[in-house]
C-alpha cells in the first residue's frame, strides 16, 4: 500500500472534504424546493472507481448519506466501467438500491480525468413529487407510490435521454421544481468533477485509489478501536412503535466481537401492507449512523468506518421488506433503529447514548390554489430529542435525522399553507435528572377556496419516547382537526378551507430519575413554562412557591426525603 505521511494525509483529506462541501453548497444554492434548500434533505459525495464511498459533505440526513454510501455500487453493476462515457449522467430512485423510497432521486456522474475513469460524484435529493399517491404511507404496494426510474442514463455522452425526460415530466405533479432540483444535482456533480481534477493535478496523484485506500483503512481502524472499548458479548433490545394501525416491534441484537459489531434485527415484526416498510439499505444507514455517533463521532464518515459493522435482518421483516412492499413512509420506522440500538448499547455503555427521541414528521399537502394552480408542499417538523447522561435533551431538534425546518414566512410565501402557531408543548419533555427535549406543535390551515389533501406521516403518537436509567417518557404526539377530532397519524385526510389541523410532536425521554434533578433547574423550567408547577411537584418532587418565583426548600426536602 502506498504510504502518506500523517501531515500530507491530513492536508489531502481536508481538500476532499472541501470538494464535497462545495458540491453540496452549489446544490443547495441552486435548488428549486424548500425541501432541499431550507430542509437540506440531501447528500453529496465522492466515490472511487469501484463505487466505494470516500468522502461526503456534512449535510443533514444519514438516510441519504449512509444509503448512498452503500448504494452507488449498484450503478456499477448495471453499467460496468467500460460502458461509461464522459458526459454520462446516471440516475435512479429504486428504493431497494438506494435510500428506501421513490421520492429520493440519486444522480451519479462518472468522473473522467484525461480520459480515464477516476471516480464518481453522486448526490441524493428528496424530490417535491414523484407522482403516484403523493408522499403517503397508505399505498398497498410500491407501484402505487409513483414513477419508478430504474438505473438509467439521463445523459449519454452529454446527450439528453429525451424519452426519459418526457416520461418524468409527464408523471410528476410539479415538473418545474423536480427538474430544477435534478439540474441542481447535475450542476453540483460537475462542480466536484472540476475540483477533483484540479486536486489530482495539484497533488500529482495519478489516481485517487491509493489515497482512498489509506483513508479508508485508517477510518476502519479507528472504528475498530472504538468498538474494542466495548465489552464483548451480545446485547438485545426491542422497542414498540405505533406502526400503521397495529404496533410494531423493532428488535435488535448487537453482537460485539473482535472489533466488529453485527447488528441483527431478528425478532422484528413482519413487513406490513402499508407504506412504512424499510429496505435493508436504509436499515443499514440508520444502524451505522447511531453507532458511529456514539462510538467515534470524529472519525471521517466513509466506507472504512462502516466496514466493522454488519447489518442483517430476516427477509420479509419490517426492517428488510421484500419487493414490492410499499415503502414511501419508511423513515417513520427506519429512524426507530436508532433508539433500538441505543437501548442495547445502554446496557453496557449508557454514558455514550441519549434516551429515546421524538420522530421527524413530514406534513405533505397537495391540491389547488384559488387560482387553480396545482401545488405540492412538504413541510418538516420534529419533537424533542432524548436527554443525554450529562445534560438535557434538545427541544424541537430531530434525531437521528438532522434536517432543518422551512421558515414559516418562506412557507407561506411559496405555498397556500398558513401556519397560525408553532410553539413548544409544556410538560412534553420526559422528566429526569436531565430532562428530555420538549416537543412542539403547529397549527395549519389552507389559504385556498378548494380543499387540499393532507398526507400525515407521523410516529410516536401512541408510543412515547422512553427515558433511560430511571428517566421518564416524554408525551406522545397527535393530529387534531379543529381542536377536537383526532385524526389517523399515517393517513391522508381532506383539509377544507377554514379548517385547522394541529400537529403535536412527542417530547424526548429523560435520563436518570427526576427526583435527582437540581431544584434550581426545575425552578428555571417552571419559570420558562417548560414544566408546570404541578409536574414539578408530582414528578420532580420540587415545590415551587405560588408566585412561581422561588423554591419552597422545606417542602421540597420533605417531599424528596419521602420518595427520593
Amino acid at each position: 500500500m502506498t504510504t502518506f505521511d500523517p501531515i500530507r494525509l491530513e492536508v489531502l483529506w481536508n481538500r476532499l472534504i472541501s470538494i464535497v462541501n462545495e458540491q453540496a453548497a452549489a446544490l443547495i444554492r441552486t435548488s428549486f424546493t424548500t425541501i432541499v434548500r431550507e430542509t437540506e434533505d440531501l447528500s453529496c459525495g465522492i466515490f472511487d472507481r469501484a463505487g466505494t464511498m470516500i468522502a461526503q459533505a456534512e449535510t443533514g440526513t444519514p438516510g441519504h448519506i449512509n444509503s448512498m454510501a452503500t448504494g452507488v455500487k449498484h450503478f456499477l453493476k448495471r453499467y460496468p466501467p467500460e460502458t461509461l462515457l464522459p458526459g454520462d449522467v446516471l440516475l435512479t430512485n429504486d428504493p431497494w438500491l438506494m435510500s428506501g423510497h421513490k421520492h429520493d432521486i440519486t444522480i451519479v456522474t462518472p468522473i473522467f480525468i484525461k480520459g480515464v475513469l477516476q471516480a464518481f460524484a453522486a448526490s441524493t435529493c428528496h424530490v417535491e413529487d414523484i407522482g403516484g399517491r403523493v408522499l403517503s404511507a397508505e399505498a398497498s404496494d410500491v407501484f402505487e407510490e409513483g414513477l419508478a426510474i430504474p438505473i438509467m442514463k439521463l445523459y449519454e455522452a452529454g446527450k439528453p435521454n429525451k424519452t426519459l425526460f418526457e416520461i418524468i415530466t409527464a408523471n410528476v405533479r410539479m415538473p418545474e421544481p423536480v427538474w430544477g432540483d435534478l439540474n441542481a444535482q447535475i450542476v453540483a456533480n460537475e462542480v466536484s468533477i472540476q475540483k477533483l481534477a484540479e486536486f489530482l493535478e495539484q497533488n500529482q496523484l495519478d489516481s485517487l485509489t491509493p489515497l482512498a485506500n489509506v483513508l479508508l483503512e485508517k477510518s476502519e481502524q479507528a472504528m475498530r478501536d472504538a468498538i474494542r472499548t466495548l465489552p464483548e458479548g451480545s446485547y438485545s433490545h426491542s422497542i414498540v412503535v405505533d406502526g400503521f394501525d397495529d404496533p410494531l416491534t423493532i428488535a435488535v441484537t448487537l453482537h460485539v466481537k473482535e472489533g466488529e459489531i453485527l447488528a441483527d434485527y431478528a425478532g422484528s415484526s413482519p413487513q406490513v401492507d402499508r407504506g412504512i416498510n424499510v429496505v435493508l439499505n436504509y436499515t443499514h444507514a440508520y444502524t451505522t449512523y447511531p453507532l458511529k455517533a456514539a462510538l467515534c463521532p470524529e472519525v471521517p464518515n466513509n466506507d472504512g468506518s462502516f466496514r466493522p459493522i454488519k447489518v442483517t435482518a430476516p427477509e420479509g421483516c419490517v426492517m428488510n421488506a421484500k419487493f414490492p412492499a410499499p415503502v414511501a413512509g419508511r423513515h417513520l420506522i427506519g429512524h426507530m433503529a436508532a433508539p433500538a440500538i441505543y437501548g442495547a448499547l445502554a446496557k453496557i455503555a449508557p454514558q455514550l447514548v441519549n434516551a429515546e427521541s421524538s420522530s421527524l414528521g413530514i406534513t405533505q399537502l397537495n391540491g389547488y390554489t384559488s387560482d387553480g394552480e396545482i401545488f405540492v408542499k412538504n413541510y418538516f417538523a420534529t419533537g424533542g430529542m432524548g436527554a443525554r447522561p450529562t445534560t438535557d435533551g434538545l427541544s424541537a431538534k430531530s434525531f437521528p435525522t438532522n434536517v432543518q425546518n422551512s421558515p414559516v414566512e418562506v412557507t407561506e410565501n411559496t405555498s397556500p399553507l398558513f401556519i397560525s402557531r408553532k410553539e413548544f408543548i409544556p410538560d412534553s419533555g420526559g422528566a429526569g435528572k436531565y430532562r428530555g427535549g420538549l416537543g412542539q406543535r403547529f397549527t395549519l390551515s389552507i389559504r385556498s377556496d378548494k380543499p387540499a389533501v393532507l398526507s400525515c406521516l407521523y410516529e410516536r403518537t401512541k408510543h412515547p419516547a422512553l427515558g433511560y436509567e430511571g428517566g421518564k417518557e416524554g408525551t406522545v404526539g397527535a393530529v387534531i382537526l379543529n381542536g377536537k377530532e383526532h385524526l389517523h397519524a399515517k393517513k391522508k385526510h381532506v383539509l377544507k378551507p377554514g379548517h385547522e389541523v394541529t400537529i403535536e410532536f412527542a417530547g424526548g425521554g429523560g435520563f436518570y430519575p427526576p427526583e435527582e434533578r437540581d431544584p434550581q433547574f426545575v425552578l428555571e423550567d417552571v419559570r420558562n413554562g417548560f414544566v408546570s408547577r404541578e409536574n414539578a411537584r408530582r414528578l420532580y418532587k420540587v415545590v415551587i412557591s405560588e408566585d412561581g418565583r422561588g423554591i419552597d426548600e422545606a417542602a421540597t426536602a420533605e417531599l424528596r426525603k419521602g420518595k427520593g
Binding site: R37, T382, P407, K422
Partner: protein, 693 residues
C-alpha cells in the same frame, strides 16, 4: 493642517492612527483597553497622541471608530435584561430556531442559549398574511398586558418581531407606541427597522441581539462623545459598520448589530484600499491574529459583502452554532487558526492544529506564563521565523526551550518525528487549514484564488502568508507596512455610506415597477438625507442599487445590479440580462425557461472616497544590504532544514529597494517570512511585494 483619526478598540489593545491629510505622515499609538469603560482608553490614546505631536484639538478632523464592545457583549452574554414580543403563537421561534443540530455526529452538543429566555418572551394577538394584509388587528389591551408583564420582569430593552412585518410595519410601529407610553425608559428594537427581511428566525435573532446590546452601545457612545467634547474635540465622530461603510454615532447607538464586525471590516477595507493603490484589482486579504485567522476576497478593489453572518459561535467556529445576524457584513471566513492555536494528536493518530487556543493566558509555551501545550507561535519560534529577543519589538522575551519541550512532548514523540519536522508539521497544517478556508471562500464566490494576490496583516499574518500563498498556487504576496494597526488605518480610507433594503417579491415580468420605483425613491431619499447630515455635499452622493434575485422556486438569491433612475418597461430585459450574467458566473449553467424573481431590493448610498496621502519611510537607507540587521538559522523546506538567513529591518527599507529570499523582515508588530527563490521589493507606498517562484 487636519488630522484624521482612526481608533480601534480591541480585546487587549486600543490602537490609534493619526493621519496628517496634507503630508501623509501617520502616527500610531497603542494603549491598553479599559474594559470597564472603553471610552476612557479611547480618550487616553487620543490625549497621548495630541500631547506627543503637540497638536491642538482644533487641528483634528474626523474620528472614525470601531469597537468590539457589541461583539463582546454577545459573546460574553453581558447585554441588558431583554424582553421579546412576538405574534401570538410564535414566542418560541427564537429557541426552536431551524430545528437542526449543527454537528451531525456529536449527540452531546449544546445549542447557544437564546438571548431572551422564554419567561421574558410574550405574545400579542395580531397577524398579517404574506402580502402584509391584516388578518388579525393588533390587540391593544393584550399588548399593554404583555408590556406590563415584561416590566415586572425588570427588562431594560424590548425587541418586537411580528410575522411578515417587513411587508407592513403598522403593527410593530403601534407596538412601539404602546411600549414608549407605558415605559419611556425601556429601549425598543423593531424587527422592521433592524432587519426588514424574510425568515422569521433570522429576523428575531438579529432584532433580539440589537435590543440586548442597544442600551450598552448608547451609553458607551454618549460617554465617548462627552469625553471627546470635554477634551476639546470639535470634529465629527463616526463609527464603522460591519459592511465597511461608516455611520453616525446616532445610528450606531440605535442599531449596534450593524457595527458588530467593525474591526475586522476595517481590516478588509484597508486591504481593499491597498489593492486599489497597487492597481491590483483582485486580492485575498489574510488577517491572522492570536486566536483566529480571517480571509476576505477583494474583487475589483472591493471586499465582498454578505448578509449571512453568525456571531458568538459556541462550538469550534462551526456554522450554525452561533446567533444569526442577517445584516450586511463584509464577507469573511474566520477559522480557529492563530498564533495561540494548540497542536494535538487526534484519535486517528493525525496531527491537528486548533481550533482550541491558549489565548493570552496561559498563552503559548514560549511566553513563559505557564503554558505547556505547543502552539503555532511555538512552532514558528523553533523554525526560526520569530526572534526570541525581538517579539513585539523586544518588549517581550520568548522562551525557546519551553517551545521545544512542548512540541517534543506533545507532537514529535507521539508521531515519531524529530523536533524540527514536528514544528514544520504544525506550521504546515495551520497553513493548509487557512489555505483551505481561503480556497472555499473564493470558490463559493466563483473565483479561483490563483487569479488573486495575497495581502497579509495581523500579528501572525506575515509569518504564515508565504506558506499559505504557495499552497494556494498564488504568485504574489503583499505585506503593507504596519500590519499590526492595519485595521485602524482601514477606518481612515472608508467612504461614508448607508446600506438600505426592502423586501418586495415578484417575477421580473410582472413586477410592480411603480412600487419598486417608490421603494428606491424612499430609500435613496432617506440615505441621501443621512449623508447630508454627515456633511457630504449633495452632488457627491452616489446610489448603487442591487436586488437579490433568483429563479422562481429557488430560495437563495444572487446580487444583481439594478439600473439607476426610474425603472421602465425596458428595464425588465436589462434586469434579466444582469441576472443571467451574475448567475452564469457562479453556477456555469442557466435555466433559460425558468422565471426570475426579485426578493430584496437594496441600495448603497455612499459619499466620496476620502483623500489620503501616502506614507513616508522614516529611516530609509539607500541599499537593501544596509537594512540587514543580522543573520540567524531559519527553516525552509526547500533548504531541507535550518540554514543561515538574513534578517532585515523593515523601517530601513525605502521605496525601490529589492532583495531575494530566503529572508526575514522584522517590524515591531510582525515579521515577514520570505522563502528561497522569492523576489522582494519595496514600492513607493512602502509595501513589501513578494513574487513567488
Amino acid at each position: 493642517m487636519v488630522y484624521h483619526i482612526g481608533i480601534d478598540i480591541g480585546g487587549t489593545f486600543t490602537d490609534i492612527i493619526l493621519l496628517n491629510s496634507e503630508t501623509g505622515e501617520s502616527f500610531r499609538g497603542k494603549v491598553l483597553t479599559t474594559p470597564h469603560d472603553p471610552s476612557v482608553g479611547a480618550a487616553q490614546s487620543l490625549q497621548e497622541s495630541v500631547d506627543r505631536l503637540r497638536l491642538s484639538y482644533k487641528e483634528l478632523g474626523n474620528i472614525i471608530h470601531g469597537t468590539t464592545l457589541v461583539a463582546n457583549a454577545l459573546i460574553e452574554r453581558k447585554g441588558v435584561r431583554t424582553g421579546l414580543i412576538t405574534s401570538a403563537g410564535f414566542r418560541d421561534t427564537l429557541e426552536i430556531a431551524r430545528e437542526n443540530r449543527y454537528d451531525l455526529y456529536d449527540i452531546f452538543l449544546e445549542m447557544p442559549p437564546p438571548l431572551v429566555p422564554r419567561s421574558r418572551r410574550k405574545e400579542v394577538a395580531e397577524r398579517l398574511d404574506h402580502t402584509g394584509r391584516v388578518l388579525t388587528p393588533l390587540d391593544e389591551a393584550g399588548a399593554e398586558q404583555a408590556v406590563k408583564e415584561l416590566l415586572e420582569e425588570e427588562v431594560q430593552a424590548i425587541a418586537v418581531v411580528f410575522l411578515h412585518s417587513f411587508r407592513n410595519p403598522a403593527h410593530e410601529l403601534a407596538m412601539r407606541g404602546i411600549i414608549t407610553r407605558l415605559a419611556p425608559n425601556v429601549a425598543v428594537s423593531l424587527s422592521v427597522e433592524v432587519m426588514p427581511e424574510i425568515r422569521e428566525y433570522d429576523r428575531t435573532s438579529t432584532t433580539a441581539a440589537n435590543a440586548y446590546t442597544q442600551p450598552i452601545m448608547e451609553r458607551y457612545i454618549d460617554r465617548l462623545i462627552d469625553t471627546l467634547r470635554g477634551l476639546g474635540f470639535a470634529g465629527r465622530l463616526y463609527v464603522m459598520l460591519s459592511s465597511g461603510g461608516i455611520t453616525t454615532p446616532e445610528t450606531a447607538s440605535r442599531y449596534p448589530v450593524r457595527v458588530l464586525e467593525s474591526g475586522p471590516a476595517a481590516g478588509a477595507i484597508a486591504a481593499a484600499y491597498y489593492a486599489r493603490q497597487l492597481a491590483l484589482p483582485n486580492v485575498i486579504s489574510f488577517d491572522m491574529g492570536g486566536t483566529t485567522a480571517k480571509t476576505c476576497l477583494v474583487k475589483e478593489g472591493k471586499p465582498h459583502t454578505t448578509s449571512d453572518f453568525e456571531v458568538a459561535k459556541v462550538y469550534r467556529f462551526k456554522k450554525g452554532s452561533g446567533l444569526p445576524i442577517k445584516l450586511p457584513v463584509i464577507e469573511m471566513i474566520e477559522i480557529g487558526a492563530g498564533g495561540g492555536s494548540i497542536a494535538h494528536i487526534d484519535k486517528m493518530g493525525l496531527l491537528k492544529v486548533g481550533p482550541e487556543s491558549s489565548g493570552s493566558d496561559p498563552g503559548p509555551a514560549c511566553y513563559g506564563l505557564g503554558g505547556t501545550l505547543p502552539t503555532v507561535t511555538d512552532a514558528d519560534l523553533v523554525l526560526g521565523y520569530l526572534d526570541p529577543n525581538f517579539f513585539l519589538g523586544g518588549e517581550m522575551k520568548l522562551d525557546l526551550e519551553g517551545a521545544r519541550a512542548a512540541i517534543e512532548r506533545h507532537v514529535a514523540q507521539p508521531l515519531g518525528l524529530d523536533l524540527v519536522r514536528a514544528a514544520w508539521g504544525i506550521h504546515q497544517i495551520v497553513n493548509e487549514n487557512m489555505a483551505n478556508a481561503s480556497r472555499i471562500h473564493a470558490v463559493e464566490q466563483g473565483e479561483d484564488p490563483k487569479a488573486y494576490a495575497m495581502m497579509a496583516f495581523g500579528g501572525a499574518g506575515p509569518v504564515h502568508a508565504y506558506g499559505v500563498t504557495r499552497k494556494l498556487g498564488m504568485r504574489q504576496l503583499i505585506c503593507p507596512l504596519g500590519a499590526g494597526v492595519l485595521s485602524a488605518f482601514g477606518f481612515l480610507v472608508a467612504p461614508i455610506s448607508f446600506d438600505l433594503v426592502r423586501t418586495h417579491m415578484g417575477r421580473i415580468e410582472d413586477l410592480d415597477l411603480e412600487a419598486i420605483n417608490a421603494l428606491y425613491e424612499e430609500m435613496e431619499r432617506q440615505g441621501t438625507e443621512l449623508l447630508l447630515q454627515a456633511g457630504v455635499p449633495r452632488r457627491e452622493v452616489r446610489c448603487l442599487r442591487t436586488c437579490d434575485m433568483r429563479y422562481r422556486g429557488q430560495g437563495f438569491e444572487v446580487p444583481v445590479p439594478i439600473p439607476a433612475g426610474v425603472l421602465r418597461q425596458v428595464s425588465r430585459a436589462d434586469i434579466r440580462r444582469n441576472f443571467d450574467a451574475t448567475y452564469e458566473k457562479l453556477y456555469h449553467r442557466l435555466n433559460p425557461d425558468a422565471d426570475v424573481e426579485g426578493v430584496s431590493w437594496r441600495v448603497l448610498v455612499t459619499g466620496p472616497d476620502p483623500r489620503i496621502a501616502r506614507p513616508v519611510a522614516e529611516e530609509a537607507v539607500g541599499d537593501a544590504a544596509q537594512a540587514i540587521k543580522g543573520e540567524r538559522l531559519v527553516f525552509f523546506e526547500e533548504n531541507g532544514g535550518h540554514a543561515p538567513c538574513r534578517v532585515y529591518d523593515r523601517y530601513k527599507l525605502g521605496p525601490g529597494l529589492s532583495f531575494r529570499g530566503p529572508a526575514v523582515v522584522e517590524e515591531r508588530e510582525s515579521t515577514v517570512v520570505i522563502g528561497p527563490g522569492a523576489a522582494a521589493r519595496v514600492d513607493e507606498n512602502l509595501n513589501l511585494i513578494l513574487d513567488l517562484p
